[in-house]
Symmetry: C2
Subunit: 218 residues, 2 copies
DNA sequence: ACCTGAACACCGTTCAAGT
DNA sequence: ACCTGAACACCGTTCAAGT
């Protein structure tokens, strides 16, 4: 029931956010500028400020839009465990596709997006027979793991050289790890061999299972 | 055995990093500028570039210095479980005291600081009777949780209003949560009551125990 | 009500010139 | 070898002026 804009190409909060997401995804975080954004929208930088308070709010809104999509809906007839895995994996994939969300989420904590994540991860806990007093506890641990893992993965995605493929990149890091000082980094040296060939999503889900294993233990 | 500087107040990488940490801690991330830093060191901005490649490297070096301190040494005669808790809590406290580390760690993944964390968290795994093939797996999960939780906590610390104390701030958020739309956020509404009065460090350690519980489960 | 674009107050970084 | 500081190429944000 919103009043219609006079022109189809009129500026709007939604169009600004959509354009920002496109720039962030295709050109990277550093490329998002009020000038480039204004150029994309065929207007001046000042015009954007009529619809959006500032850059921080713009980034928060862009993050929220994608997180809302990732946590929304979902077919519900599944075990609680399975539902949590589904939400977590959805978030992982969203952050992987839009790596800039990773740094965003760990910077603005009580924002709407974080609340959506807590809600989506927490709702299945009732059916998991976790006592209500522990819900806050447990959902915090789950969310911390999900956000931490996703942020790490996003950072990796951001820093991966464009021209080399994943396997050779991982092998290069593994080789680097294997050459570390034995006295200072014995553990990292030893696990270097396990680095190439691992699957990020599998690894992520294994961590979820670890946490869930701890939850349903007693 | 490094050759001595001629003047005691000569610029050096160490002095620059120390000055940067002081500014970051006392004035916040936004206040760290090559100009303010240069002013603090009584020199011009260009001088800093002789010792440090750029701002990114400076932040990485500052982070590494503090993480090295947090993960270094530690009395060793304790159970593996206890050693992991100790390392994790040390990191938590360090990030709590220097919140800017939080965002730093989730932005530069394969940097030295992350490797120190992996090493410190992973070394006790041998004695925890975790099979070697799972070490990479398990240490990744632990590190993700630690970094995620610490980043969240750091973000909270950064955004807390200066003049209000913790209790009233938490109560305000709890009230806000309790007023959310029941249809959209039933879970968050319900756990709102558990928000005030919780202890961040306890909550953090409980999460560690959850993950460790999952590890030693089978 | 909404848009324009010049202008303000900054940044990180470079570089010729000094010692 | 190391330092100086002006200058370059940008930023986010504001605001008088327009429609």
């Amino acid at each position: 029931m919103g009043r219609p804009s006079r022109r189809a190409d009129a500026l709007s909060r939604e169009r600004i956010i959509a354009a920002a997401i496109t720039i962030l995804d295709t050109e990277g975080e550093r490329a998002l500028t009020f000038r480039t954004l204004a150029a994309t929208l065929a207007t001046g930088p000042g015009a954007i400020y009529w619809h959006v308070a500032n850059k921080k709010e713009l980034l928060a809104a862009a993050t929220d839009a994608l997180v809302a999509e990732a946590t929304g809906a979902g077919p519900t007839r599944a075990t609680p465990h399975e539902r949590i895995r589904r939400v977590a994996l959805g978030l992982f994939d969203t952050i992987d596709a839009h790596p800039w969300i990773g740094s965003q989420l760990s910077q603005e904590p009580w924002q709407l997006a974080s609340m959506r994540i807590v809600e989506a991860l927490g709702r299945p806990l009732d059916d998991l027979e976790v006592p209500a007093e522990r819900h806050f506890h447990v959902v915090t641990a789950l969310a911390s793991y999900v956000l931490g893992a996703a942020a790490q993965n996003a950072a990796n995605a951001r820093h991966a050289p464009r021209d080399t493929d994943r396997d050779t990149a991982l092998s290069a890091i593994a080789r680097q790890w294997a050459e570390l000082d034995e006295a200072e980094f014995p553990f990292v040296r030893r696990i270097a061999a396990q680095l190439p060939g691992h699957d990020d999503r599998e690894q992520f889900l294994a961590g979820i299972d670890l946490v869930l294993g701890g939850i349903t233990r007693e």
